[in-house]
């Protein structure tokens, strides 16, 4: 699906950097990727890998130090005032913590309608009311709860309110920043199902940021794995699980426990030692070299680039060819 179509969103060598006391923190360190209309790209990585920063860079909350973020071909940092406002309608965000993402003083009807109010899209009171009711219905919330406060709801319900709010402006892209990781497993499934249903109905694209490789598979068309600010592997969803080539992808997958004691006992696992290094003083060479069980001399000296190994399957690893043979 990647050819012949102009991407909806295109990142070119994006670097987002923060000044910290010890130096420069390279949260996003040269990421290039494309996202097409109506597709879901899963962005997976551990905490501190820069995935949320990347999401917020796309939301125009952080300005990248280098590189470009293009939406429908236009650089989002070259926007005029009016374009900026239009951008906030086309691109929306769903947040991780359903307790922090709703204003405790706004009833959920007002929370859902915030976008409509800001952009003055509801002409009359009746319009606004109808809009809110339709949105609550779409996300499966009881419409009689429109004048209740967030603290009366469970985490899953609040997340639905957040989803309704992001839908209110009919966006073309929704950045979902760990939308399910604060929820119970059975609720996670419901929220993922809801997001899939909404995508079928409204055809928007998702950038689905998560650390959970088991849930992201249920919703993504393609998955990108991120480590220390760089994308190490990006491929169609099933390839990540069956034909993965990056040692980090493999380690991530093998670290996820399977809900079956028999399988779990017989499973061979790659246990990574140590922690993710600090993104302040990035090592030269491959960012994963320090923890990689397959690292060689070259990995410590030169940084591997994303290379297309198969159709649409990109890997940034010096030993990607051999990795295909190693199971």
């Amino acid at each position: 699906m990647t050819e012949n179509k102009a991407p909806l969103l295109e990142l070119k060598n994006v670097k987002t950097v923060f000044k910290v006391r010890q130096g420069l923190l390279k949260a996003v360190n040269g990421v290039s990727l494309s996202l097409y209309a109506g597709e879901t790209l899963g962005l997976v990585g551990e905490s501190g890998c820069g995935k949320s920063t990347l999401g917020k860079t796309i939301m125009r909350l952080y300005r990248p130090q280098e590189g470009e973020v293009r939406f429908e071909g236009r650089d989002i940092w070259q926007y005029s005032r009016r374009e900026q406002k239009a951008y906030t309608q086309m691109v929306q965000m769903i947040f991780q913590d359903p307790y922090a993402s709703l204003d405790p003083l706004s009833v959920i009807g007002d929370a859902v309608a915030e976008g409509l109010d800001i952009h003055r899209l509801a002409g009359t009171k009746k319009d606004r009311e109808n809009n809110i009711m339709a949105l609550l219905h779409d996300v499966g919330l009881n419409q009689s709860h429109v004048d209740r406060y967030p603290h009366e709801f469970s985490g899953g319900q609040r997340q639905r309110v957040g989803i309704a709010r992001s839908l209110s402006l009919s966006p073309k892209l929704i950045v979902c920043d760990e939308p399910i990781s604060a929820l119970d497993v059975s609720i996670q499934a419901k929220v993922v199902n809801l997001l899939k249903k909404l995508q079928r109905e409204n055809h928007m694209a998702y950038l689905f940021i998560t650390h959970d490789l088991s849930m992201v598979r249920q919703i993504s068309d393609r998955i990108a794995v991120m480590y220390l600010g760089s994308i190490v592997e990006i491929a169609p969803s099933e390839d990540i699980y069956s034909k993965n080539r990056h040692p980090y992808t493999r380690a991530l997958l093998s670290a996820i426990p399977i809900a079956d004691p028999t399988v779990e006992k017989s499973r061979k696992r790659i246990v990574l030692s140590g922690d993710v290094p600090s993104p302040v003083n990035l090592p030269a060479g491959c960012p994963f070299a320090g923890r990689c069980p397959y690292a060689q001399e070259i990995c410590r000296t030169s940084q591997p680039q994303l290379t297309e190994m198969e159709k649409d399957h990109f890997v940034a690893c010096h030993r990607a060819d051999e990795m295909a043979l190693m199971e």
Partner: protein
């Protein structure tokens, strides 16, 4: 399986009916709003609850007290000088024969009005400036904060005296302006601190991603969320303004006689305290009770608003 009761079951008992998914729990619970919750917790604090009624009573007396007897606050009656409290003059009379009941409530009007305006006006100014400073951060923040540092370094009495010279001492508005000019800085700092905490919260980011302008975010999201916490500070600062007014009157910078205020009453009665203690004690008690009650209310509010105590 022997422990199972050998009940009598019917076939219908074991016929599949499928789930009847009920309403979710939130709809069956009593509806509570944030403020209703706060009120419920506030009522639990008996001292604060009683204080609230005492203050309401004081306000009623301040409004209607002077109408309750035929005297007014400035007419001298030399036939009744320094009368002790009696059935005609309920709180007695002062050295010029003026009715103290009337003067206390008239003075209360002045004191409470100054307290109220002298709290709300600087609070509003402080919130606006603190909100801007906290939300925009960076250079704006640095400039505003350094300015406050400098202004705070100057003793407030100096402003007072200067302002009195400019606007002329003795009227209520001068006092309110003087108190406002010195009072907004503390509130600006407190508001800025709260806003710095709040602006990183997801619901504020959500407003930004929805395209909310800075004024939308500050007015709709940030300020309302700081209010709950600032209310405590506001309540607690009322007593200090009352006291400040009394202090200024006492040193001669307050309202000018014959216009009474609690501070003014205390000052003039102080000279004769040894002979006519009731003239001194009554206004002192009013100041004391008001300060105590506002402090207790503030205390109760702080507990009621504390999110950790809310279930």
């Amino acid at each position: 399986m022997s422990q199972l009761p050998k009940g009598t079951f019917t076939d219908a008992d074991f016929t599949k009916t499928g789930a009847e998914i009920g309403l979710d729990p939130a709809s069956s619970r009593k509806k509570t709003t944030y403020w209703r919750d706060v009120w419920r917790n506030f009522k639990k604090n008996k001292a604060a609850y009683v204080s609230l009624y005492v203050i309401l009573l004081l306000i009623l007396l301040v409004i209607f007290g002077p109408m309750m007897n035929p005297f007014d606050y400035r007419t001298n009656d030399y036939t009744a000088i320094n009368n002790a409290p009696n059935t005609v003059h309920w709180f007695g009379t002062d050295t010029m024969g003026r009715d103290i009941w009337t003067r206390v409530w008239e003075g209360g009007r002045v004191s409470l009005l100054i307290a109220l305006l002298g709290t709300l006006i600087p609070e509003a100014i402080g919130m606006a400036i603190g909100g801007i400073s906290g939300y925009f951060g960076g250079k704006v923040d640095t400039v505003i904060m350094r300015l406050i540092d400098i202004l705070m370094g100057i003793p407030s009495l100096i402003y007072m005296i200067l302002l009195m010279l400019i606007f002329g001492s003795g009227n209520i508005m001068t006092l309110v302006i003087a108190i406002s000019i010195t009072g907004w800085m503390g509130s600006a700092r407190a508001t800025r601190g709260l806003i710095l905490q709040l602006k990183g919260r997801d619901f504020v980011t959500a407003s930004r991603t929805l395209g909310g302008s800075p004024s939308w975010i500050i007015l709709r999201r940030l300020i309302p969320n700081t209010l709950g916490i600032r209310v405590v500070g506001i309540t607690m600062s009322i007593p200090s303004v009352i006291f400040y007014e009394a202090f200024l009157s006492y040193i001669g910078l307050g309202v000018t006689p014959p216009m009474p205020s609690w501070g003014q009453l205390i000052k003039s009665a102080g000279e004769n305290f040894r002979y006519y203690p009731y003239q001194f004690i009554i206004p002192c008690a009013m100041v004391g009770i008001t300060m105590l009650c506002f402090n207790l209310i503030g205390d109760g509010l702080r507990d009621a608003l504390d999110p950790r105590l809310r279930t």
